[in-house]
């Protein structure tokens, strides 16, 4: 229970830190309207999940927010990593490494078990899509995703 409370606090703080960074550094005159609205509404959703102790919701938002952070300009990603490192002791790269450990376990197992794992693999494929030299890994991950989708389709009851 205590561990969950600590995790909830951490998730909220981490997500808010990234949102604040984006608000300070990624909003231009052109994105002012949608950007400020987006951050305000994201914060509201996080606060609500925090109030309800919705740890699954916060974990999902944590994953999405980290993914979103990579949409920033590379300079800002580097600056954000320095901010996160000084505040939390680790950064987005450290989180990526944790995800990679989970992904390796799924690959070793040979199949995806849950939608959460599916989204994790999907995120990894998305990240690799921008890089050269990962064709084999992408093929392997894509096969896992498709196998999972097809197995769910075969078992689906509409």
């Amino acid at each position: 229970m205590i561990k969950s409370k600590e995790e909830i606090e951490f998730l909220k703080d981490w997500i808010n830190e990234i949102n604040e960074f984006i608000l300070r550094n990624e909003i231009s005159e052109k994105t002012m309207e949608i950007g400020t609205w987006f951050i305000k509404e994201s914060k509201r959703a996080i606060e609500e999940a925090y109030r309800n102790q919705n740890i699954r919701g916060l974990r999902c938002a944590f994953h999405d927010t980290n993914e979103m952070a990579y949409a920033m300009k590379q300079d800002n990603v580097n600056r954000l990593n320095r901010v996160l490192k000084s505040k939390f002791g680790f950064d987005l790269n450290s989180q990526n490494k944790k995800d990679l450990v989970k992904i390796k376990a799924i690959v070793d197992r040979g199949h995806i078990k849950t939608n959460g794992e599916y989204y994790l693999i999907k995120g990894r494929i998305d990240a690799l899509n921008g890089m050269d030299g990962h064709e084999e890994e992408m093929n392997r991950l894509d096969r896992l995703m498709t196998d999972y989708e097809l197995s769910k389709r075969n078992n689906a009851k509409y």
């Binding site: 994105t31 919701g57 990579y70 949409a71 920033m72 769910k152």
Partner: protein, 184 residues
């Protein structure tokens, strides 16, 4: 940085992709294109998403090639089914989509091809807009479980606490093509 001539080529490519998409018949281009165009006209050159609906970006914008481009795309099956997806990467939206398509080995083997680019955007809010767009595309074609849709998993989980924010960000960028289907 993408400037001048490259920007022109970029938009030319988008228009060729768009034309291809339109020729597919019932395509969300038709539904959302007008909104994207009007947003461009009102706000001036800004987002890749705008570029798809208009030519206003040509020669006007400067982009960082090291910044990720986010896209949504549609794969078509001869039997009329569609598979909707999103991807990100570096380069033109078309290149990003084709790189992802290349790795869709099983779906391709099952007959899903003719990839058409739907929308593209950059930046954190562009990422959010593309997340919302992927789910709206799935819902536009009937949603998960519809015989028209090959996807079996939602683009945005029903219980994702940011689902609604993604939805409305997508509306802002590209126009609405489907109602919100999440819980929060």
């Amino acid at each position: 940085m993408i400037t001048g001539a490259f920007s022109f080529l970029f938009n030319e490519r988008l228009h060729r992709v768009q034309d291809k998409g339109d020729s597919d018949g019932a395509d969300p281009w038709v539904a959302a294109g007008t909104v994207a165009l009007s947003l461009s006209a009102a706000d001036g050159p800004l987002l890749f998403g705008d570029a798809i609906g208009s030519v206003v970006l040509a020669g006007a914008a400067v982009y960082d090639l090291t910044q990720r481009v986010y896209v949504t795309y549609i794969l078509h099956h001869p039997n009329g089914q569609v598979y909707l997806g999103r991807a990100s990467g570096f380069g033109t939206p078309y290149q990003v989509m084709m790189r992802r398509y290349y790795h869709h080995n099983k779906w391709r083997a099952l007959g899903f091809g003719k990839p058409s680019l739907d929308r593209a955007a950059i930046g954190p809010f562009g990422y959010a807009a593309i997340r919302g767009r992927e789910q709206q595309l799935i819902d536009f074609y009937g949603g998960i479980g519809s015989p028209k849709v090959a996807n079996i998993i939602r683009g945005v989980g029903r219980y994702n606490i940011k689902g609604r924010v993604y939805h409305y960000t997508s509306n802002y960028y590209f126009g609405n093509i489907a109602p919100y289907t999440g819980i929060f």
